[in-house]
Each structure stands twice: as structure tokens, then as C-alpha cells.
Symmetry: C2
Subunit: 338 residues, 2 copies
DNA sequence: CTGTTAGCGCGTTCAC
DNA sequence: GTGAACGCGCTAACAG
């Protein structure tokens, strides 16, 4: 690794002061086009490459945005990240990524390292374990802007990009009901998470509006992991006459379906899933499966666009910038019940 | 954003030289425990937080590793990334990610920005368009170590973590043959990529070893995208008596299967897929589907462990460090042909 | 063990 | 429009 050429090298070579070189290279209007060209040329000639570390130190900015998600390999998140990276790339930002693995502790550590690494902003989908936001407000005051996505937190002045969970949930449940289901189990998630709370509310509202009693034993709360899916499937079997499932997430639902299949058990006639990632699991074309697709890539694009905007001009009241994206109810040859 | 406290602040407050403070905070053995404690305490008291940017500039290291993949949202890659992040996190490294979108140009730019951002090492799965490795050898000489994964390049002294594509491919094809298939189409990828070349070779070898003629019109090369899958499906239909498909990748194969289903067409009796990501698409349990599962997360773990090792002690002949991971042939209730 | 000195490479004052 | 000088915060090198 040979020594890099610095602005001083081209400063010496040209007998022009290094500050002028710096200005020229940053295309400052205070340098004449003539010397700019001269410097530009010499820079190329010497194979100059700006040392961003030094620049970062001086300006205290890094042109980098941090992302924290519960787990990168989850389809939904990897799609969001893909969208984020794409727009960040275009705007000249790098992305550094961390996964909380649904642990508050780990999330705190990640936020802390991102903070000390001076990322310019943070995109985060909080972990299931996140019950307080001290680490986040700390980032906000000492670091930069934050934008929530998918899983919002109730936190003042921080925008969030989400889908309308209530509506999506309501629609999915309503669809099952219209299809003749009367005993609908709900796979739900940790209720401290806004998202799952809202989805539960949508489910309950749909039942209520259709004069179907809400039975607590039909609401199964879990972490919605693959392993949980199997447990959920077992519970469903133990319940009498379940004819429909509405799941708050795809992983658990699919895992449950697999369990039914594998063991030759009867699968409920109709199943609806919110938060289904169509792109990656598109092979699953089951009759009687309804999915509410989330605009995953789009969510990434919008979230990072907003964040970058916030970074550039520290906007005063960003609370207005929250956005709710539409979803798409997709019905797969759903067998109309008699 | 108020002014941060620096080592000089605690240097002044304690009347201890700032270098000693620095050493103490870095837990250097050359500082007495007594003064360490003193400094530690004061640091906490003043709310000191190390400015990593300054440290990075001075040491010319960033404790960050770069990852470049064709597309983040692809299941296989997101799983690998997940594994990478996990081990990097444990080793105290950050990860920054870029996606090449199968474009050489973009890959070059990404490598360049990672280089100027002084990442300590690079993990890369090259894009389909990558036909030369100037940008990579440039990174190697001016940046740090590189480790290839999944898609190796023939490049001197750079280790790569891959599966045994030849063997995996041979086994998959052999399995189809044993199941009675005689007219096996191969969905293949861009032949400049080692991976696809090797898989093609495995396919050819299996046929040859079984005295089945290799027919060029049965080898369908494409980019293996979802859209390509449909084109491939159409081609399969136009071919006489295809009774098996061996695909080099899941996306195209699944897309093709969907096309068959959607249009009520006959699906070849047996299908084998290499590079299938079981975790994410586990819902697809089709009889007559054989998949060769790749150890995706494990690949990430191994690749990043190796890279970090290389970063720490610039090992002299890393070419020996290439590693081939085992795969797992998974047969789904494959209907034995009569 | 601790202090002194001298940068890392760049951006940004201020002068002129 | 350009130059001189300084500082961002930290650490390496050399003293002692």
C-alpha cells in the first residue's frame, strides 16, 4: 500500500497553495476556471483520490446513513433495504446496516456505534423488545434525524413510513368473513409494537362490524417466528371448528401451513396474511390464500428519500412528514364457501 | 448539538497529558491501573464519547467491511448478508453494503467509494457483467483484502467461499436421471461467470456418464430473472418431450413453474434446482421437486470470519484459504417414474 | 509508566 | 482570486 497523493502533493507540483487546491476540487466558485482546470488535470495525473476520512473529520459528516432492522434476511426487510440502498446510492450516500435480532440491548448498542460513527441519519424498524426510546432520542439530539419504517414508535417529532395496518387488517379479515368464515383465528404479535396492536384492532373491528363475537382464545400472540408457527398450528388444531386464519405475518403463517400439510391435517379453508412479501415467496400459489402485499421496496425508497431530505435541511417540524402507504389485497382463486 | 467533550477536556481537567488519556481510554497496558481508573471516571463524568472519525483518520482504519452483492433482496444474498453482519458485529466491525444490480459499471463505482471510505476489507459476489477485475485488484493494492463468495472470479491470491457447484449440479442431474428422466433441459446462466460454467459442466458430465446425449438446444442460457423464467417456460413447451428440468437458480425455475401452472400446462415430472434458498421459500413443497440447498448464512459467517482474519494479520498467501462448502440434496416426495 | 512533539489530510477562517 | 495558518480529535514515535 503505497503512499496516497494528497492535495499537498498537487499543491507542491503546481506551486499553488493547498487551500486553493481544496477549493478547486470542491468546485468552489471562488476559484477561477483556469486554475480549476489546471488543478483538475494535475489531480488526475497524480491519481489523486480525496481522503474522505479527513474530510469527514473536518466537516463532521460522513455521507452515510444507518439502517437498523430486526433481521436482514427477512424478505420484507431485505426488500426495504434494497430500496433504501438504491435511493441512497443515487443521492451519494452509503448505507451501513445492523440487525437487532429483536433485542433491545443489541439495538441500543447498534444505535450507539452508529452514533459514534457519525452516520448522518438513521432509518430504523424497532425491535420487538424496544419498549423505551432513550437510545433513539439520544441519537436524535447528538446525531441526526431519524425515520421509522414499518414499525413506528410513538415518539414526538419523528416521522414514520408505514402501511395502514388497521385498514389492511380490517380488509383481510373482512374478506375472510365475506367468504363465509365465522371462526377466524388471529396470529398476532407482541402488543407493545404499534403495528401488531393496530392489526389486532383491525381484526377485532371487522369481526364486530359483522356481529361476530370476538373470542380471546382465538387471538394467539407470539413472536411470529418459524418455530412459533408450528406451535400456533397445534393450537389451531386444539380449537373447535376453526375455518379461517388471519395472520399478522407471513413467516408464522407459512410455517403453520407447512405443519398442517406435513402431518396430513386439514388446513382451514381460508387464510389471509398481512405483510406478505410477494416477490420472494411468489411460488406459493395456494387456493384460498389471501395476501395483503406491502409496498416493500417503495417503503425503502420513500423512507430514505425523506431521511436524506431531513439530513440536508434540518427541517423544523418533521412530524408532518409521516406517510402511510397503500396496500394491495390479493386473492388467490379463493374457493367461495357454500 | 452542543460541543462534544474531547480527550483534551479530560486532559485539562485532570492535568494529565492527552496522550496518556488516549492510551488509558484505549486500555493500553502502558498506563497504570490507577490513572486509568481516574481517567475512566472523569470520562464518564464529562460524558466523553470518542470521536471515531478522528481515530479513523489517524490510524487509517475504519473497522468497517464492505459488502457488494448483485441484489440485496435476493433471498440467498440477504441470508449471506445476515450471516456476515452477525459475525462482523461480534468482531466489532460495521458493514456497509452496496448492490451492483448485475452492472459492472455500478460495481466499479461501489468499489471505488468503498475504497475512498477506507473500508478495511471487501466481501463481494461479482455481478454478471464483471468481466475484468481491474477495480478489484486496485482495491486489493490500495485498500485491503478481498474475499469472494458464491461467485468466484479467477483472480490470483484472492480466496473465495463457494459451494462445489460442479458436484451439486452433477448430483442434482444424476438424481433426475435416476428418477427416469431422459430429456432434461438445463436453465443456465451467463457463461462468463465461473459458477454457471461449473454447473453446466456438472450437468453435462452427469448426462455423459449415463450415456445420455447432450443436446445443445436443451441448454437454455439466460439471466435467470423472473421474466426470463417465463421465456424459458415457453421454450420448454416448444421442445419435444421434456421430462425434466435442472435449473441453475431458483428465481427463474419458480417463475417458469408458475407460468406452467397459471396456464394449465403440463409441468415436467421432475425438476431440480441448485441455489435454492430453503428458509425463505420454504412454503414451496412440491412433489417431484428436488432442491440443492446452499448453506447461505454459513457462507456469510465463513466469508466474513476469513476476511476479518485477513484484515488483522495480513496473511502472506491467502490463496490457500479458499473454501468449498457442502450442499444438501433435498428430495421432495419425488414421484418415482414408471 | 508518563510527557512532548508532531502530524494524519482536509476545510476554513482570515488576510491580502 | 489566492495564500498563510490553524484546527478537527486522536494517536505514533520518541523521549525520559
Amino acid at each position: 500500500m503505497k503512499k496516497k497523493t494528497t492535495i499537498h502533493d498537487i499543491s507542491k507540483a503546481l506551486k499553488i497553495n493547498s487551500s486553493t487546491v481544496s477549493r478547486a476540487l470542491n468546485n468552489s466558485p471562488r476559484v477561477s476556471q483556469k486554475t480549476k482546470d489546471l488543478i483538475q488535470k494535475k489531480a488526475v495525473e497524480l491519481g489523486y483520490q480525496k481522503n474522505i476520512l479527513a474530510s469527514n473529520l473536518r466537516t463532521n459528516k460522513t455521507n452515510t446513513i444507518g439502517i437498523i432492522v430486526p433481521r436482514i434476511s427477512r424478505n420484507f426487510f431485505s426488500s426495504v433495504i434494497s430500496g433504501i440502498e438504491e435511493t441512497a446510492y443515487r443521492a451519494g450516500y452509503n448505507v451501513v446496516i445492523g440487525q437487532s435480532l429483536e433485542s433491545l440491548e443489541r439495538e441500543q448498542e447498534l444505535v450507539s456505534t452508529l452514533l459514534s460513527n457519525r452516520v448522518d441519519g438513521l432509518l430504523i424498524s424497532v425491535s420487538m423488545g424496544t419498549t423505551n426510546y432513550n437510545h433513539l432520542s439520544n441519537f436524535k439530539t447528538n446525531g441526526g434525524p431519524i425515520v421509522f419504517f414499518d414499525r413506528p414508535m410513538t415518539m414526538p417529532n419523528i416521522p414514520s413510513i408505514t402501511i395502514d395496518d388497521y385498514e389492511a387488517s380490517y380488509n383481510a379479515t373482512q374478506h375472510l368473513i365475506e367468504n363465509g368464515c365465522k371462526n377466524i383465528v388471529h396470529f398476532s404479535g407482541f402488543q407493545k409494537i404499534e403495528l401488531y396492536k393496530r392489526r389486532m384492532q383491525g381484526y377485532v373491528a371487522a369481526l364486530t362490524d359483522n356481529n361476530i363475537p370476538v373470542r380471546p382464545e382465538y387471538i394467539l400472540e407470539s413472536q411470529l417466528s418459524e418455530a412459533d408457527g408450528i406451535e400456533l398450528a397445534k393450537k389451531v388444531i386444539s380449537l373447535p371448528k376453526v375455518d379461517g386464519i388471519y395472520s399478522s405475518n407471513d413467516t408464522a403463517a407459512i410455517s403453520a401451513m407447512q405443519y398442517f400439510k406435513k402431518n396430513g391435517l386439514k388446513i382451514p379453508d381460508d387464510i389471509a396474511i398481512v405483510g406478505f412479501n410477494n416477490d420472494s415467496i411468489s411460488a406459493v400459489i395456494e387456493p384460498g390464500l389471501t395476501t395483503v402485499n406491502q409496498p416493500d421496496v417503495e417503503m425503502g425508497i420513500i423512507a430514505s428519500s425523506l431521511l436524506i431530505e431531513l439530513i440536508k435541511k434540518t427541517i423544523e417540524s418533521p412530524s408532518e412528514h409521516s406517510k402511510t402507504l397503500g396496500t394491495e389485497l390479493i386473492i388467490r382463486q379463493s374457493s367461495q364457501k357454500s
